[in-house]
Amino acid sequence: MPYEFEEILETIRMTQVEHFDIRTVTLGINLRDCADRDVNVISQKIYDKITRIARNHVKIAQEIEQRFGIAIANKRIAVTPVSIPFDNLKKDEFIKIAETLDRAAEAVGVDYIGGFGALVQKGFTNGEKELILAIPEALAKTKRVCSSVNVASTKAGINMDAINLMSHQIKETARLTAKDGSIGCAKLVVFCNVPEDNPFVAGAFHGVSEAEASINVGISGPGVVLQAIREAGRVDLGQLSEIIKKTAFKITRAGELIGRKVAELLGVEFGIVDISLAPTPAEGDSVADILEAMGLESVGAPGTTAALALLNDSVKKGGLMASSYVGGLSGAFIPVSEDAGMIRAVQKGHLSLEKLEAMTCVCSVGLDMIAVPGDTPEETIAGIIADECAIGVINDKTTAVRIIPAFGKKVGDMVEYGGLLGSAPIMPVRNISSKEFVLRGGRIPAPVRSLTN
């Protein structure tokens, strides 16, 4: 037999028992050719283009799913940041575009569509400002549209004015979607050094340097890594890294295979595999559980950042060997509401916002799906975003903030979102003011690190 009995059973165990799945197959679509003076014409062009290119996206993904026996959890779409081709539009017109995206996503059967965003790390164009003003209403009026705004980069520095504006918009989004636990904020991310080919919503968009259409794949397998670590028993940290690498290698290979097949059948380019460990609220599919299996009593204990760094680095090393094109965010995600282990740690008081911030220095993104009291001042949120941006800018890495100032909620409450978004315990935020600092505004200059030429 060309394969060992155990090898075949290993693959089956990964998919059937340990929740290994392809987290997302995201079809990126360029919208730059949909520009026009008239918003109605633009809407029609956008709708026609998305439904034309993506009409078989879900069907083909399902075929591939069945063929290889590996579930593809999400089929999604990312488009060009809409502020770019439609810079001439005004706030209300951008809301109309969001509604069009929502309709198009519904028509082709995808649950989320990313790209209602702007890249303003150095400054705003008129259109970008209008788009940002439109975000709260756009997210409140739509179900599927996700928004991301890049406010800082290593090359440009940190646009504090953009951070202040975004903090205000986050609070506004929370208010407008108050009756659903401020769910609008779960669809809104503020980025630093945003990658242009990230397949994961809410931050997914189709970057300006991308091809006409492309498929990017996000793999996921915290459960598989967890099982491998548990089976390994008491080995030293070097050996632990080796075990994680081998596991990451296998799941990345499967991810690349699936991405290539979907791209081939859709007749679009294959972009990248994003080798991230993305947890879900399901039991055993948790990044926190991995860190605890490494020997920590709970996430949040001293040593957590080191353990996460080891995990993240090993996943990357294993994944890099397995795929020719690795991109996107590639690393471990540490969202709170989407990870049962993280929720547990927060509820027990083991994990604070500050510890999470430290962890974001070594993980793939940043403060993700964190619910804070609804009365958290917007200047405090701006301070939190600025801190994350500083980590990203100085270390030349992607960081992001997806924070939910849950309207009317207090520390100790829970917000339930259901599905992959999970449920978020409201975390305490330090009650000391950042106001005078953040309201200085302006742009924090790019660091020495940016001068690499």
């Binding site: 394969y3 075949i8 693959t11 499967a254 690349e256 007749g267």
Partner: protein, 141 residues
């Protein structure tokens, strides 16, 4: 699926040949449009788009007489060639793995998959059908 201009040209020429040069522009447009739609809709999943025509069938469950025979009969009836087979029984629990070439079978992957899924339900066991590529990419460099 994207249709290149070259492809559209080929389709147009094909239509012209079929209907003759005196076809009306409206009819031509309609005919070309329909054919393009068909191209786009056709889920171009053919055996050739996969690297090999082999699938791996894994079945497991409580052992009972006739399990192997039932599965292999279904395969034989549909012209599927069993190239390798291995089986382990642990107390009353069995696991069987088959490597099967389905390239000359009249059934599509999905039809075979559904047929075996029905059989699995009848016998109260689990049967998984997966294309060989997934094992090759995960376990072989």
């Amino acid at each position: 699926m994207n249709i290149s201009e070259q492809k559209i040209r080929e389709i147009t020429i094909e239509v012209l040949k079929e209907f003759g040069e005196d076809i009306s522009p409206e009819k031509l447009r309609e005919e070309v449009y329909n054919r393009i739609q068909r191209q786009i809709e056709k889920p171009s999943m053919t055996q050739n788009s996969m690297d090999s025509g082999r699938v791996i069938i894994t079945s497991y469950g409580i052992n009972k007489p006739g399990v192997v025979s039932k599965i292999s009969t279904i395969l034989a009836q549909n012209n599927c060639d069993i190239q390798d087979i291995t089986q382990k029984i642990l107390q009353e629990f069995f696991t069987m793995i088959m490597i099967v070439d389905i390239s000359s079978s009249p059934l599509s992957f999905k039809e075979l998959h559904d047929l075996l899924a029905r059989a699995a339900e009848e016998m109260n066991i689990k049967i998984m059908v997966q294309h060989e590529d997934v094992f090759r990419t995960m376990h072989r460099i």
